[in-house]
């Protein structure tokens, strides 16, 4: 078998991925950036095409989507619109939607607007194995509001717990970073959500 790394070349299909839902069928004309089995890539990979990793990537990945196959691994900083992984992840991942299976290694942070992890059958193989990691997904309501609602007390004004809130989408993270750089005139500070526009994008 010849292992290749195709970037921006048409790829006939991407194999099925039952643990994270059906993989999209990529038509003959669709372009995919593919890191093949037994291929290692180090550095920054930016693509306007969906990225498929069957080998190993270490570094930064930017693109509309990233699919890490069961044999693939991605370590580093990733910003994509859609992340589907059945392989191994390590590092910092920002995505709008995430479907996870496989392995998430220690010291990994995953931020997303939506996360899906399917439950493994009790007697079956684990769908996913988490190391020590952090998940920041969706909008978390403030505890005080939740308690007030549950105890029947009126909630004066809708508030959200923003103390630990992280940007949950790539676009939002980018926007926050831009704002931080604009206001601070320097490198990106700790990102904070603009509560005046919580539904962004």
């Amino acid at each position: 078998m010849t292992n290749v790394t195709r970037m921006g070349l048409p790829t006939p299909t991407v194999g099925p991925a039952p643990a994270v839902g059906p993989a999209p069928t990529v038509g003959a004309s669709a372009k995919t950036t593919l890191i093949e089995d037994d291929t290692e890539f180090k550095g920054t990979l930016s693509s306007k095409c969906p990225v498929v990793v069957k080998g190993a990537v270490e570094g930064e990945v930017n693109g509309p989507s990233l699919h890490v196959s069961p044999s693939g691994s991605v370590s580093g900083k990733v910003k994509v619109g859609e992340l589907r992984s059945e392989g191994t992840l390590a590092g910092e991942f920002d995505a709008d939607t995430v479907q996870l299976a496989g392995t998430v290694k220690n010291d990994t942070v995953i931020r997303a607007r939506s996360l899906e992890v399917r439950l493994a059958p009790a007697s079956g193989r684990m769908q996913i194995t988490f190391g020590q990691c952090e998940l920041a997904v969706g909008d978390v309501p403030a505890k005080e509001d939740a308690v007030a609602v549950a105890s029947g007390r009126p909630v004066e004004a809708p508030t959200r717990d923003t103390s630990e809130e992280l940007p949950t989408t790539v676009r939002e993270a980018d926007r926050v970073a831009t704002e931080a750089e604009t206001t601070a005139g320097g490198p990106r500070g700790k990102p904070r959500r603009d509560s005046s526009n919580p539904a962004a994008p």
């Binding site: 939607t97 996360l115 190391g131 020590q132 998940l135 920041a136 909008d139």
Partner: protein, 344 residues
């Protein structure tokens, strides 16, 4: 010293004379027949009314502090606003009696029959109500703090906004009881029988919540509007627990395979869940201290569910599932037992 003696009292009652405001302190009226007696505002402190018949008697605002009323028949009696502090009422028949706003602080009502009694706003703090029959009683806003209700039957009772903090409800029957807004802070609910109403619903009436015994089909239901604060709850292996209430500062210990379901209206605030159970969160969970969830075999956060906690995995790693639409601020850490050989 009482102003009347026993004979005079009996004579007057027989004639239908009123004994309002009578001074009957420490009088021996044991086994006396005082049905429908007018004893409003009478002073019966320390009186002996053992086995006395007082059905339909008017004892409104009467003072019966430390009166001895064991096995007295007080059916349909009006004891509204009466002072019964420290009274002995073991085995007394108070069915249908009106004890609204009565002071029964520290009273002994062990085995008393209180079915259908009116106990709204009654002061029952530290009262002994073990094995009492309070079926269908109205205990709305009653103060039962630190009361002993072990084995009591509260089936169908109205306990709306009642104070049951630190009460002992061990083996009590709460089926169909309405505990909306009741304060159960620190209450002992071990072995409480299930209810279909606001607080509890169990699959088997003989269910117990103790550590011993394996009861695989037992279910617990904590309904909307209930508040449980500062409690430690232990559930047997195989139990199923559903929470639609507000739990604050509670510790929930799950036996092997016990299923804890936080329903969509359920909120666990500043809580901790420990044990090799299965946890499903469709409502909201906020930890008190890290890790807020320790050792679950399975953890599922449903769509709309919210989890803010550090999760320490089970020794054999936890099976996770997160549905799209779940809201998470989660730190996952390896089991302390596995930390040396943890993934890197």
């Amino acid at each position: 010293m009482a102003e009347l003696n026993r004979e005079e009292v009996l004579r007057r009652v027989e004639r239908g004379e009123r004994l309002e405001r009578a001074d009957l302190r420490e009088l021996d009226l044991s086994h006396a027949v005082l049905d429908r007696a007018e004893l409003r505002r009478a002073d019966l402190d320390g009186a002996n009314l053992q086995g006395a018949r007082l059905t339909g008697a008017n004892l409104r605002n009467a003072s019966l502090r430390e009166a001895y009323m064991v096995a007295a028949d007080l059916r349909e009696a009006n004891l509204e606003n009466a002072d019964l502090e420290g009274a002995r009422l073991e085995g007394a028949d108070l069915r249908g009696a009106n004890l609204a706003r009565a002071s029964l602080e520290g009273a002994n009502l062990t085995g008393a029959r209180l079915a259908g009694a009116q106990l709204g706003y009654a002061q029952l703090e530290s009262a002994s109500l073990g094995a009492a029959d309070m079926t269908g009683a109205n205990l709305t806003h009653a103060d039962l703090g630190h009361a002993y209700l072990g084995g009591a039957c509260l089936a169908g009772a109205q306990l709306v906004n009642a104070n049951l903090s630190h009460a002992n409800l061990e083996e009590a029957d709460l089926r169909d009881a309405d505990l909306s807004g009741a304060d159960l802070t620190g209450a002992n609910l071990t072995g409480t029988k299930a209810a279909n109403g606001a607080l509890a619903r169990a699959g088997r009436p003989t269910a117990t919540g103790g550590r011993n015994g394996h009861r695989p089909d037992v279910a617990r239901y904590f309904g909307r509007g209930d508040v449980l604060r500062g409690a430690t709850l232990r559930f047997d292996a195989g139990c199923r627990v559903e929470v639609e209430s507000l739990f604050e500062q509670c510790v929930i210990e799950l036996g092997e395979g016990t299923e804890l379901m936080v329903g969509s209206a359920g909120v666990l605030s500043d809580c901790k869940v420990v044990g090799r159970g299965s946890v499903v969160i469709a409502g909201k969970f906020y930890e008190r201290e890290s890790p807020g969830i320790v050792g679950p075999l399975q953890l599922v956060v449903s769509s709309g569910g919210c989890l803010v906690a550090e999760v320490e995995q089970a020794a054999e790693t936890t099976r996770f599932a997160f549905e799209p639409g779940s809201n998470l601020r989660v730190k996952i850490r390896n089991s302390r037992a596995n930390e040396r050989g943890g993934m890197s």
